[in-house]
Symmetry: C2
DNA sequence: TAAAAATACTCCATAGGTATTTTAT
DNA sequence: ATAAAATACCTATGGAGTATTTTTA
């Protein structure tokens, strides 16, 4: 049995006339009769009572007609579903991101993507940059959004945006009086930093910056969370440096001040496997770059 | 797209190897590859990621595989269902019967039929003999069980059983003292009969019998229901004649006595349209005749 | 007797086979 | 280097066409 038999049978039932059915199927009547006979023989039951005057369904035919309709519909649905999954208009897509991306760019990417492809289920995983390599390799995420990600030969990395760093200061801090802050001004200040043990590339960058300006930061508190760091600054515990997008986090008692030229910057990048096959990936990258371009 | 494509695809997915799948399908590998390519082209999406080392499903392929399995299963089910309906192992069958058949033979037919073909839904319609012609013609019932049914050219009638008539008498009646009763003994007795207006062939027969024995029955009560007639006899209102199978109805205050030779008999027949196509009919007739043969 | 389905036959499109090449590990 | 899928080309089954017959209302 082939779908051809079902299509022919359904048409004959709808027309209740072999000649008209054949016309609708753009074929001649004899082969249509033959295919219906073949179908009846394979099933082992008469489906149609036919005389030269009328074509009527038997009980078996009625049952088979209903089934045939449902089957043909399901075939169409299955093809359409596969087509959409193939185009990436539908499906599942997992994104890894670092906490510092969560404040500004990620919500915008997420919003635009949902609007463009509402049928794609996005899964968001907060992962530190160094964890994203594994997650990509094992297929747990399709893309990673990280700052200064670890590069590997089987991974493609594209820079999304460069953000300058800003100083986060308690509102009552003397430096808050100025428009800009030099990193060297922060020498001796109580620093809130990120544990190097977390192997965060971002933490390493901050240590490097201080070192470049000739001092070792005086760390009074360490935290792995940008949000916590910001809270501690607001509480007057100390100062820190954050990507400018973190300014979106408003809190009483905190002020952000740009750094003096040359402003150190930190990049945000997307990373994905070179052999990533998900048809959703190009759509996602397009959205990421569009959102980044709109700053 | 044809079912062939789904069958091939499912096999390739199960084997995850074109060569082995082709072997299982008793064909060579190249045409199998071609058919899968054809399927992918028609759907417009890649279903399989294939290298020389492994064959893997894409998201679209995974979805289509699940659908294909369900579709193939449904095709099998549809064919099986139609087959059963065609054989009459399953379906719907409507039987018309006269009240007097309901006491003995019908329950036995019903029980045997249900045991033999539990998947057939039997509908039972109590209809007087003269109503059964219309019901058959209009297709409301597939067979009628009646006494002395009206015959027509488009209807086939088969005699199921011949039942002799017995006299139903109040237990206190003087004739109850004898082993047998002659119809002529009933002359002048109060008769409970059936209205001729109901055009019951059975009522006509009883009037005819009395007339043959040279008297007009003295009717004290008319009823269309055998059961009511029996109740009235039990209450001592009068006498009547019933088919012997009605003796199955036991009631205090009633006795049944066979009639003297030659015992008048009344036939029970099955009637069905000459062009009746229901495949259940032969099964039903077989049961009817078997039950009748077992008396 | 007329309309429609079934049969008889013919033809060609395409499913499937064979031989070979390409590709990825 | 090798196993496996893809490609190229050929063959032949069977789906579809044309002409005709059979059937039944």
């Amino acid at each position: 049995m082939e779908l051809r038999h079902l299509r022919y049978f359904v048409t004959v039932v709808e027309e209740r006339h072999f000649g008209r059915a054949a016309a609708r199927l753009f074929m001649s009547q004899p082969p249509l009769s033959q295919q219906i006979q073949q179908l009846e023989q394979e099933i082992g039951a008469q489906l149609l009572d036919r005389t030269t005057r009328k074509v009527a369904l038997t009980a078996a035919g009625e049952s088979f007609y209903q089934d045939a309709l449902a089957i043909l519909q399901r075939v169409d649905d299955a093809a359409e579903r596969a087509r959409r999954l193939g185009r990436g208009d539908m499906g599942f897509f997992a994104v890894g991101f670092v906490a510092s991306a969560a404040y500004d760019i990620l919500p915008r990417i997420f919003r635009e993507f949902r609007e463009m492809l509402p049928q794609v289920e996005l899964a968001l995983h907060e992962l530190q940059g160094h964890e994203q390599g594994d997650a990509l390799a094992s297929g747990r995420i399709h893309v990673g959004l990280a700052r200064l990600p670890t590069v590997s030969e089987s991974t493609i990395v594209e820079t999304v945006s460069e953000e300058t760093l800003v100083a986060a200061l308690p509102a009552s801090h003397p430096l808050a009086y100025f428009e800009e802050v030099a990193i060297s001004d922060l020498q001796g200040e109580p620093f809130i930093l990120f544990p190097e043990s977390s192997r965060s590339r971002y933490a390493q960058l901050l240590y490097q910056l201080c070192s470049d300006h000739g001092f070792e930061p005086r760390v009074v508190q360490k935290t792995g969370e940008v949000q916590t760091a910001v809270s501690l600054v607001a509480a007057g515990i100390g100062v820190t440096l954050v990507p400018e997008s973190v300014q979106a986090v408003h809190r009483a008692g905190i002020v952000y001040r740009p750094l003096k030229e040359p402003r150190p910057a930190v990049a945000l990048s997307v990373a994905y496997r070179a052999d990533e096959k998900s048809p959703i990936l190009p759509h996602f990258l397009k959205v990421v770059h569009r959102v980044a371009a709109n700053h």
